[in-house]
């Protein structure tokens, strides 16, 4: 009997609440002291499509979904067709007994045909309650805590009124009882654990929470999957937290608004995905030359162009790094998990204001929309640093205020519109120290040098890339951003197998931490590059900055996240053959 190690998946037609159902399952597990990683798949369609919600549960920390599934709950036929193969031998399939199956189900799994609709009706409900029946059935199968489930159901539906809540609970109970009475034999069970202070949160939510904590007061964005969750979260707290969340006519307006707010002295941000970011590119350069702080969150999805709007990928790194004409300093941060999403977003706001530059948070659908269990964010060390903003008194004392004064660090103290002695003109044209347009050679060179100089200082204070695992590895895994999760999982498994392996994970991609990367990779070990794209973008960056060419690559670009199993297998293969 395996305790507290389960991969559960529910699938059904889009538009029938699969997402909520999965969330309830996961949340109930978390409440019961377990850790989860949720993973959803849905096409870019409203109905007619097929949705799944997968929850991996363990009592230790989990960093990623796994490919294999122990329980598959199928509310439609497609779920069986598409996902049956993912079941582990001995796993269970629970399906709606009213479905007409075209063929036999795998003999090595347990099959439970449950009359979902009948049970829902019996509980006084309708078609929409079927999902709750499925939850009850699932909980019974793993002999888990019904009370916690009912409590989470109650919380979830409380806004819909008492009657709906009770019906939902009744349906879950009906399902639970039905399965209990079958006395199923099954190799997995879940048990309450004592872990405390855990949250179940997605990357998008963590970024939004980080923004709130960082004092972001203004978000302008145009709806775009999979970034919308960030806006949505902040919009919900507009009044309570004194934020303005502005849906704009397009992404061009959004980015220009962010700059307007930044110029006016307000911490501001935008969020989008690749296509929307494409439209922001011009204004990114505007932030660059006017030295206006701006935070841009790009939640990647597979391209090019519209590509696969609801899938995941890591294809926009090089794009972000070189977006917009001309050269100017920028910081690119790709958090690897929800904790980093929260803290790095706060860092992003600090860096943006301290260096007066655009700062990017590069996330992706997998990180942004997957919920995971994490320790409650530690806010004790959070500091808000607004950088060099001149006080009225300082400004008054100055003989002449030069907004773009050429300083040692390249950062010029600024004024905020409304300050009596701080009047200046910012401009997208090249300018002199005062801000007024010029085309003189010397002014130009001085300004370019001044701006680019910031990079050196950022580099010095930048957090170093993390290295996890063996101190003397025979193989090093290299990845960035959201791939961290799967890599951490695989690392754990490999270490358990006594493989000498470590993981170099990059969060800060610009300025590039050349020295640290070089040091981590220069040990004669084998190196495996793992990225969610077809060209190995980080690989190119590493070679460009360190000269090191990475021979082994695990590149995945089918729109799905990289699974720990895939990394594990690839490492074994590399160690065997190559």
């Amino acid at each position: 009997m395996i305790t507290n190690k389960l991969s559960w998946k529910i699938g059904g037609e889009a538009g029938f609440g699969i997402m909520t159902t999965g969330y309830i399952f996961s949340k109930a597990c978390v409440r019961a002291g377990l850790n989860t990683f949720d993973f959803t798949e849905f096409p870019s369609l409203i109905r007619g499509g097929h949705n799944t919600y997968q929850v991996r549960v363990e009592d230790r920390e989990v960093h990623s979904p796994v490919k294999s599934v122990d329980i598959l709950v199928a509310l439609n036929r497609q779920t069986i067709e598409l996902h049956e193969q993912e079941l582990t031998p001995g796993g269970a399939i629970i399906y709606d007994s009213s479905l007409e199956l075209e063929r036999k189900i795998r003999p090595d799994v347990k099959v439970f045909a449950v009359p979902f609709l009948d049970l829902a009706k019996k509980a006084g409900g309708e078609r929409l309650m079927v999902n709750n029946v499925a939850l009850g059935v699932s909980f019974a199968l793993v002999d888990f805590d019904l009370k916690t489930l009912l409590k989470v159901i109650e919380e979830t539906f409380k806004d819909k009124g008492k009657k709906v809540t009770e019906l939902n609970k009744a349906a879950a109970k009906e399902g639970y009882d039905y399965m209990r009475q079958l006395k199923p034999e099954f190799g997995h069970r879940l048990r309450k654990a004592k872990t405390m202070n855990r949250m179940l949160i997605s990357g998008n939510e963590a970024v939004a929470l980080g923004a709130l904590k960082a004092g972001c007061k203004f978000i302008a964005a145009y709806p775009m999957t999979p970034a919308s969750g960030i806006f949505q979260f902040l919009a919900g707290y507009e009044r309570e937290y004194g934020i303005i969340a502005k849906q704009t006519e397009d992404e061009i307006a959004a980015m220009n608004m962010v700059i307007g707010a930044g110029f006016a002295g307000v911490r501001s941000m935008t969020c989008t995905s690749g296509g929307g970011f494409s439209l922001m590119v011009e204004a990114v350069g505007l932030a660059g030359i006017t030295e206006t702080p701006a935070v841009i969150v790009e939640v990647q999805r597979p391209g090019p162009s519209t590509g696969m709007p609801t899938q995941t990928g890591q294809e926009d790194l090089r794009f972000i790094l070189s977006s917009s004409q001309g050269e100017f300093p920028r910081v690119v941060i790709a958090p690897g998990d929800v904790d980093e999403c929260f803290h790095e977003t706060i860092n992003a706001f600090n860096l943006a204001e301290r260096y007066q530059i655009p700062v990017f948070i590069l996330s992706d659908k997998h990180l942004g929309e997957s919920r995971t269990t994490t320790k409650v964010f530690d806010t004790r060390k959070v500091r808000i640093d607004r950088g060099a903003v001149l006080s009225d008194a300082q400004l008054r004392r100055m003989k002449q205020f030069n907004r773009y004064e050429d300083t040692k660090t390249g950062v010029s103290p600024r004024s905020i519109p409304g300050q009596r002695h701080g009047i200046y003109t910012a401009t997208s044209n090249e300018h002199g120290e005062s801000g007024i347009i010029t085309e003189e050679s010397e002014d130009r060179v001085r300004m370019v040098d001044k701006r680019m100089r910031k990079m050196k200082f950022i580099e010095r204070e930048m957090p170093k890339p993390h290295v996890y695992g063996s101190p003397h590895p025979e193989i090093t895994l290299v990845c960035w951003g959201s791939t961290k999760g799967a890599a951490m999982e695989a690392l754990t498994w490999l270490l358990r197998d006594h493989v000498k392996v470590n993981l170099l994970h990059l969060v800060y991609l610009n300025p590039f931490p050349s020295d640290q990367v070089k040091a981590a990779l220069d040990d004669g070990q084998k190196i495996l590059l793992i990225e969610g794209n077809a060209t190995g973008q980080l690989g190119g960056l590493i070679r460009e900055n360190t000269g090191i060419e990475i021979g082994h690559r695990l590149l995945k670009y089918d729109g799905r996240p990289i699974y720990p199993e895939e990394i594990y297998d690839k490492v074994k293969e590399v160690l065997r053959h190559g």
Binding site: V30, R198, M199, I201, E205, L209, L212, K213, A214, G215, K217, F218, A220, Y237, E238, R239, Y241, G242, I243, I244, K246, T248, E249, D250, A253, N256, M257, V258, I259, G260, A261, F263, A264, G265, V266, R267, S268, E282, A283, L286, T290, V376, F377, I384, I416, P417, G418, Q419, R420, H421, G422, I423, Y424, T425, A426, T427, S428, G435, I436, I437
Partner: protein, 285 residues
């Protein structure tokens, strides 16, 4: 007391062509600000790219010279960030009616309380002469050597249609009227357009000061600027007679007024040092 001299930046060389209509617009703007007692540090002008876009270099208030066509989002955000500031956006007809027209329409319907001044010279000045959306059909330029094939847009009608709450036309040959229109526009609580007929003496040899002088007339006191259909009718008038003045004016809640979160304190004045998120964290537990 603010004086015109406070708004000067004598040091900076002005690079508009001698005789350009832009000079009048700059003068009128300064006069309007002075007459309204707007202190220089409480005013921001946001410019686009074009000859018109050089204006912020030559007036001593806060200035932001942004991208071609993107004045309004920047200006809107400045206003939302600190609605105590007087925010003016200004740019060319190419800037506002070609590449930037989407922002124009949406800013109007939002009724964000800013003043938008277009230097409408019916040509692209800075790029040395191409047709703009207000160039008459048949205009011959470097880009349209056989004459342009497009009908011009009607900025006044567009502003009315889009929900602007103050819509006016001025003429750079009439400093006095223009100053008054700017005063009214800045005082207006809501989105205000002043489309200024601005002769470009270098690239537009048709729509000259003389050409306009022969045609412009002022909407008279009997004209009711609150009647939308009447405003459309006037807006459609263009040819031998060209009306100037306030075409349309109406009261509507501004965007800022719909935001209780800034009713007491402008966004920029709100403290951000120690935001309490404990309650939110609880939600995720």
């Amino acid at each position: 007391m603010v004086s015109l001299a406070d708004l000067d930046r004598e040091k900076e060389v002005m690079t508009w062509c001698p005789g350009c209509g832009n000079f009048t617009i700059l003068s009128a703007l300064k006069k309007a600000l002075v007459s309204l007692k707007v202190e220089p540090h409480n005013a921001v002008v946001v410019a686009g790219i074009g000859c018109s876009g050089h204006l912020p270099n030559w007036i001593n208030i806060y200035g932001f010279g942004g991208l071609h066509g993107r004045t309004l989002p920047v200006a809107s955000a400045i206003k939302l960030s600190n609605h105590k500031l007087t925010v003016i956006a200004q740019g060319g007809d190419g800037d506002g009616y070609s590449i930037g027209i989407g922002h124009f329409i949406h800013t109007a319907r939002r009724n964000i309380d800013i003043t938008y001044i277009t230097h409408n010279n019916q040509i692209y000045g800075l790029t040395t002469g191409q047709t703009s959306p207000t160039s008459p059909r048949g205009t011959v330029t470097k880009f349209t050597p056989f004459g342009s094939l497009e009908d011009p847009l009607n900025p006044i009608a567009l502003a009315i249609t889009s929900g602007a709450t103050f819509v006016a036309r001025g003429f750079a040959g009439d400093l006095e009227q223009l100053t008054k229109l700017f005063q009214q526009a800045i005082s207006h609580n809501g989105f205000a357009l002043v489309d200024v007929l601005q002769p470009c003496v270098t690239f537009n040899r048709t729509n000259t000061f003389q050409w306009f002088r022969e045609r412009v007339y002022k909407l008279d006191d009997g004209y009711d600027p609150t009647d939308k259909v009447a405003a459309y009718r006037k807006a459609l008038e263009w040819g031998d007679r060209i009306p100037t003045g306030v075409f349309y004016r109406v009261k509507r809640r501004t965007y800022s007024e719909g935001l209780p979160q800034i009713s007491k304190t402008p966004l920029v004045k709100q403290r951000i040092g120690n935001v309490d998120i404990v309650k939110l964290v609880k939600q995720f537990m």
